[in-house]
Amino acid sequence: MLNHLLSWIVFVPLAGAIVILFFPKSMTQWIKWKATALCGFNLLLGCILLAKFNPNVTDIQFLEKASWIPQIGVNYTLGVDGISLPMVFLTLLLSCLACIGSFGIKEREKEYYFLYLLLSTGMLGTFVALDLFLFYIFWEVVLVPMYFLIGIWGGPRKEYAAIKFFLYTLAGSLFMLLGILALYFYSSPHTFDMTELGKIAYSRTFQQFVFLAFFLGFAIKVPIWPFHTWLPDAHVEAPTPISVLLAGVLLKMGTYGFFRISYPILPDGARWFQPWMGVLAVTGIIYGGFVSLAQQDFKKMIAYSSVSHMGFVLLGLAAFTQDGLNGALLQMFNHGTITGGLFLLVGVLYDRAHSRDLNGFGGLGVKMTVYSGILIFFSLASLGLPGLSGFVSEFLCLLGTFQVYRWFAVLACIGIILAATYLLYMIQRVLLGPLNPKWSSLPDINRREIFTLVPLMIFILAVGVYPKFILEYMAPALTALLAKLNGIPF
């Protein structure tokens, strides 16, 4: 089992999904617990992976390679390095927590958990695939369950949101497919292997075009301004656990693509695009922040804040410095835990009040003390309070950018102020002020819900206080990547 740890991790959920398919609809309890147990088991596997991973090595570890479609040069290649490992772990963690968070789903459970597990497989596969073809397949596999999960269990405008998400991402990923094909056919010998492709020096013009093709695919997923408009709709309409995964994992797939494909394989293209990355990042940070401030809907506000926060990832990526890349990768992880937590919290509130209107709440701090404590904790983490994880990664991103694009860093700081503004404004409207009598009977957060949040809080605090432990996993791989980007033969 240990020899194929990654395959296990990827396909355990799929196997579970197929098994669920054969159980009658009525055994909801069984299905629910089975899915949760599977996610927990998978998380356990993830912990083994973490323990067995050697952080000092820059190479791919746990490599699995098998011929799959030899006629077109496709291999089944899995592996993790310091870049993908945190993402895999994040995915496992959030999948597990969101699965527990899914207990609130009360209709069509069988279908829900089937799709949920399928989604898990897709997400995990995306992060461990090292073959572009395989990568694309996992990437697309994520879309379909997501469509249903939003479309069936979502809010009032679920259909619109679901199809918008689907088409938008599909359009982007088709361009990515073209990019993948171009990489394949212009390599010799033809290969889909990302590591092999990384060794090929493509011509500059070629890199620029292919970079743009990949950029479209990734930018829509991240989403980078101005490709972000699917995000608020999808987030708002999706059920809570799905919002968590959407924000926590799916958005990371886009930026992960930059780390895994665009940067190492197309360094010239990346360098060419570097200033524009910066511009888009800063625009996204400020724009997302401002728009977030204007929102009346709790979820929409957090959704736009994601645009702003993912902007920092992009900013770190645009920096092409050690700090920037580390910051970007760390920000991906942190945004996953923080925003994931925030969505869970919105869900807690929504389950009780059936409203997300920020202006309609008020004074909940009196009734829901534990809840408000946790909400404040996550908000503070999100606004980059030092001592919590958000600060470390934003700091590193800014540190990285500051060396290269001084003014971008300065402008991005507006985003930090904005984050404080919209989050505190939210807290003020929801928790503070006189208690709205309409909500005077809301029960406080329950144990199950707390249980889903505590692990996230631990990570937020741990990374915030002593980020070294997680950066140790990332740094060697990123050093290698940076060397590649700067044209130093590695």
Binding site: Q295, Q322, L385, I416, I417, I427, G433, A475
Partner: protein, 639 residues
């Protein structure tokens, strides 16, 4: 043994963790956890303070983060300045926490309050001990957080909720400046360690004076936010919405002074690139003068004190800007004591009367003797009456200003000192003396509140002595180290200062006790001036109208833009597709017509005749196909 210093902030932190999770079960007893923790910190810090007094410097650090070549060390370094702050924070902090037990008695979130206070102590202590600017920044934000939490402690009050947000965001603007300054410093000098901010270390970077001056100013920008300097001072008066012990601890004695501490910390940087000094001094002086002016007419007891705090902080900043390092830090220390005392006294009054409006008070001295007496001591101290602490430190500042060679600073600060004496005693007379203007069931506060008052009163009275000529300017030598300046007593300045202080007090006595009808008339005569002061120079209105409104307007405009334009574009392509589909469909429906138009070769009348042709008509299909084939033929044969 040195590593024991880590425990100093750790105890309050543990207390916080304990109280936040289990505090509710312990009810009123939970306060003792906080008190115990801060007492422990106090005890632990004693050897370090003593050591520092003897000229020792304690340093320890560990690697927090290493990214490539960038290395960030965390740890502590205790020198004279930190030791002084350590002393102030632990002593004043402990006293205020003890006082709070009485003040917060019966509050439903009693334990929460002490949890927050403990967190604040922990953050403030780590701020003081921090060895690097980054760690300082982290603690800096954390004290900001505590300030936020404590201002909004009674969050049911919308004004408190709003004030806490305002405080956090306003200071954050300053924090960003600090952050950028930090980055600039880091990338220019490669270090963030505070110990390195001295002239020897900076010497190689002399060529980059512009960048580093900017860095110094940006760091000062942090202080502007935190220490409520003009133009970011607006949050502090609103912060008075918090419980009074909070105002005393955070918004008078310690946190707001952190800005001054920061400037003092980077004094080496600022003086090495002295272009930054003038702006600092100017800001400080403007703040001092402006705040004192506003304080003249405020009627809320805490607001008067708040503006007084702003004014005094302005004094300190001005002192530092005028190279009065010893003076500024000295005033920082004395101010911590007497301003904490003033706030606690005010708290006691509020506790006793239930109001904050001084116009409703009067004649409280009979009923609240302890409070009155301690308050009076503090007022005398702040008014600069010798030999109380405020006199010595303020005098030092005035001397710095006098010797700076720029008399305007001296004049303004002297006028400010007069105004200080005046508004303080206006407050004292209106509150404690004269006739009661409203009936209250006033009672003196319990011992747990009055004992800290007395202890602080002793402090306020005596803490100035180390800086007095009687103790041979011990403090200045201590804080400025061996290379401290010679301190000659400037009797002229001293005399003027005492005279002005006395003038202010007497004026207050005349106006508010002897001729209580006069102030109103004066107010009517100098109406614009009165209004300017009373309305706080319209800063809030100005910011509301410009910055805040602009901010939100931009925000909602962008949101509309997002919804309308960007999303609209996306949807429009979708709709466009549908439309295209309709068109295509329509072409299929009116095939000939569409095709004819498409070909564009046939006459108009014919087209209108063809319009009548029905749909689903196979010969339409055929002719389309045929024309299509013909077009292909043309296309292929045109070569």
């Amino acid at each position: 043994m040195v590593t024991l210093a880590y425990l100093i902030p750790l105890f309050p932190l543990l207390a916080f963790a304990f109280l936040i999770f289990f505090g509710k079960r312990f009810g009123d007893k939970s306060a003792w956890v906080a008190i115990g923790a801060s007492l422990l910190s106090l005890i632990l810090s004693t050897p370090f303070v003593m050591g520092a007094v003897q000229g020792q410097i304690f340093v320890h650090h560990f690697e927090w983060l290493r990214i490539g070549s960038a290395l960030f060390l965390f740890g502590f370094s205790i020198d004279a300045l930190s030791a002084m702050m350590l002393f102030v924070v632990t002593v004043v902090g402990t006293l205020i926490i003890i006082y709070s037990v009485g003040y917060m008695h019966g509050d439903p979130r009693f334990s929460r309050f002490f949890a927050y206070l403990s967190l604040f102590m922990a953050s403030m202590l780590s701020l003081v001990l921090a060895n690097s600017l980054l760690m300082l920044y982290i603690s800096w934000e954390l004290v900001g957080l505590c300030s936020y939490l404590l201002i909004g402690f009674w969050f049911e009050k919308p004004s408190a909720a709003a004030a806490s947000k305002k405080a956090f965001i306003t200071t954050r603007v300053g924090d960003i400046a600090l952050f950028l300054g930090m980055l600039l410093l880091f990338f220019t000098t490669g270090t963030l360690e505070l110990r390195n901010l001295n002239h020897e270390f900076l010497a190689p970077f002399a060529s980059q004076s512009k960048v580093l001056t900017l860095a110094g100013l940006l760091i000062f920008g942090g202080a502007v936010g935190k220490s409520a300097q003009f133009p970011l001072h607006v949050w502090l008066p609103d912060a008075m919405e918090g419980p009074t012990p909070v105002s005393a601890l955070i918004h008078a004695a310690t946190m707001v002074a952190a800005g001054v501490y920061l400037v003092a910390r980077s004094f080496g940087l600022i003086t090495f690139f002295p272009d930054a000094l003038l702006p600092i001094a100017t800001i400080g002086t403007i703040t001092a003068f402006m705040a004192a002016f506003i304080a003249l007419t405020q009627t809320d007891i805490k607001r008067v004190l708040a503006y007084s705090t702003i004014s005094q902080l302005g004094f300190m900043i001005a002192a530092l800007g005028l190279k009065g390092y010893g003076a500024g830090t000295f005033h920082l220390m004395t101010h911590a004591f007497f301003k904490a005392l003033l706030f606690l006294g005010a708290g006691s009054v509020i506790h006793g009367t239930g109001t904050q409006d001084i116009r409703e008070m009067g004649g409280l001295w009979k009923k609240m003797p302890h409070t009155t007496f301690t308050f009076l001591i503090a007022s005398l101290a702040i008014a600069g009456v010798p030999p109380l602490s405020g006199f010595w430190s303020k005098d030092e500042i005035l001397v710095s200003a006098y010797e700076s060679g720029m008399p305007i600073f001296y004049y303004l600060l002297s006028i400010t000192a007069t105004m200080t004496a005046f508004y303080m005693f206006r407050l004292v007379f209106l509150t404690f003396f004269g006739k009661p203007r409203k009936e209250f069931h006033v009672h003196e506060s319990p011992a747990i509140m009055t004992i800290p008052l007395w202890l602080l009163a002793i402090g306020s009275a005596l803490v100035g002595l180390p800086g007095s000529p009687w103790m041979n300017h011990f403090f200045q030598t201590f804080i400025e180290g061996s290379h401290g300046a010679e301190h000659a007593i400037n009797l002229f300045v001293m005399g003027i200062s005492v005279g002005l202080g006395a003038f202010g007090i007497v004026l207050a006595w005349l106006l508010y006790l002897v001729f209580p009808a006069v102030p109103e008339k004066l107010g009517a005569i100098f109406k614009p001036l009165y209004l300017a002061s009373n309305r706080k120079l319209w800063f809030d209105e100005l910011y509301q109208a410009t910055v805040i409104r602009g901010w939100y307007a931009l925000s909602s405009a962008l949101a509309k833009f997002d919804l309308g334009v960007i999303d609209g574009l996306v949807n429009a392509t979708g709709i466009g597709n549908l439309r295209l589909s309709d068109i295509q469909n329509w072409i299929d429906i009116h095939i000939v017509d569409g095709a004819v138009n498409g070909v564009g070769a046939l006459t108009r009348g014919f087209s209108s005749a063809l319009r009548k042709i029905q749909t689903g008509f196979v010969q339409n299909y055929l002719i389309i196909s045929f024309i299509g084939a013909l077009m292909l033929l043309f296309f292929e044969l045109r070569k």
